[in-house]
Symmetry: C2
Subunit: 181 residues, 2 copies
């Protein structure tokens, strides 16, 4: 079902990925689809979560700062691919469809923000990031400029941009010398 949804979205964007079309392409009955997903929004956001968890997983088992740098680099790459296109479409639809808005926040944005905030808290605990800055503010400082470029499209999200963003944002978040010594 998700494969069918992905193929339809790739071919014709969100309008093409209706439950009817997904049912026809996957050979799964609409009633069966609705047993698994309450509505089209939850299905499409699950597809996005699946694509994003492959193209930009939250890195695990790494030192926190390396994990953060890797995560940001992968997010930067994946906004230029299918995950970025689907996120931009769903974010735009979320503006007039409360189901899409709820699904996007609850299935993707909140869990993902929590996961990244946890890595930031580890970096704070290990003394790499100042502990007085709220982790959620840091998440938005790091990913906000990337998604701003994705959603407004005024400038491309290049690898260089993401690297500079990470370096400059972290520059001010490093513990002060005085505090360390």
């Amino acid at each position: 079902v998700l494969d069918a949804a992905e193929a339809l979205f790739q071919a014709g964007g969100l309008p093409a990925a209706s439950i009817e079309a997904i049912a026809a392409r996957s050979g799964v009955a609409k009633s069966t689809i609705y047993r698994r997903w309450t509505n089209r929004a939850t299905l499409l956001v699950e597809l996005l979560v699946e694509i994003a968890s492959k193209s930009a997983p939250v890195p695990e088992g790494k030192e926190a700062m390396a994990a953060l740098r890797t995560e940001l680099r992968l997010i930067g790459q994946s906004v230029n691919g299918p995950a970025g296109r689907l996120l931009a479409s769903l974010a735009s639809e979320a503006h007039h469809d409360p189901d899409v808005r709820t699904a996007l926040l609850e299935q993707l944005i909140y869990p993902r923000t929590d996961a990244t905030a946890k890595v930031i808290a580890q970096a704070q605990a290990s003394g790499h990031i100042r502990p007085d800055v709220p982790p959620r503010l840091i998440v938005d400082m790091l990913v906000g400029p990337i998604f701003y470029r994705l959603l407004i499209q005024h400038e491309p999200v290049t690898e260089r941009f993401v690297k500079q963003l990470f370096d400059e944002a972290l520059e001010g978040l490093r513990p002060k010398r005085a505090a360390r010594g």
Copy 2:
């Protein structure tokens, strides 16, 4: 004409602000409207530019750092009002309407980014911001997280958020002590 467009948008969002409805409400003929604006997108973006230039003007005649701080505070306030709603609607429409996308970038985003980048260049010239960081990157670091919150709506844009964002972003952009001394 712009007043009519604004009233219609406030009452019923973008769908309500059609050229037909704007013509009917303002008493100005459609042909006259089309002589002044090539399409609906340029008219609506001009309305947004007008609202934004009142609610969050680029501050002039101030010391650069104070100007930047004021600008960010006003942007933070105005995304919670009519300017924010109209920008979010147009950004979402820009995703499938190239006219809206072009109008939004050329009439609002590019000129505004240029204006803010100019103030940042002044702050770099006066030694308040490190001169090795591209001004446009700094613009996106400052406004990106605000517009990310506006467009995804996962967290409100509070005054406290904007203040912390400004302070933390600028922290790492300050010239190093060693370089000053």
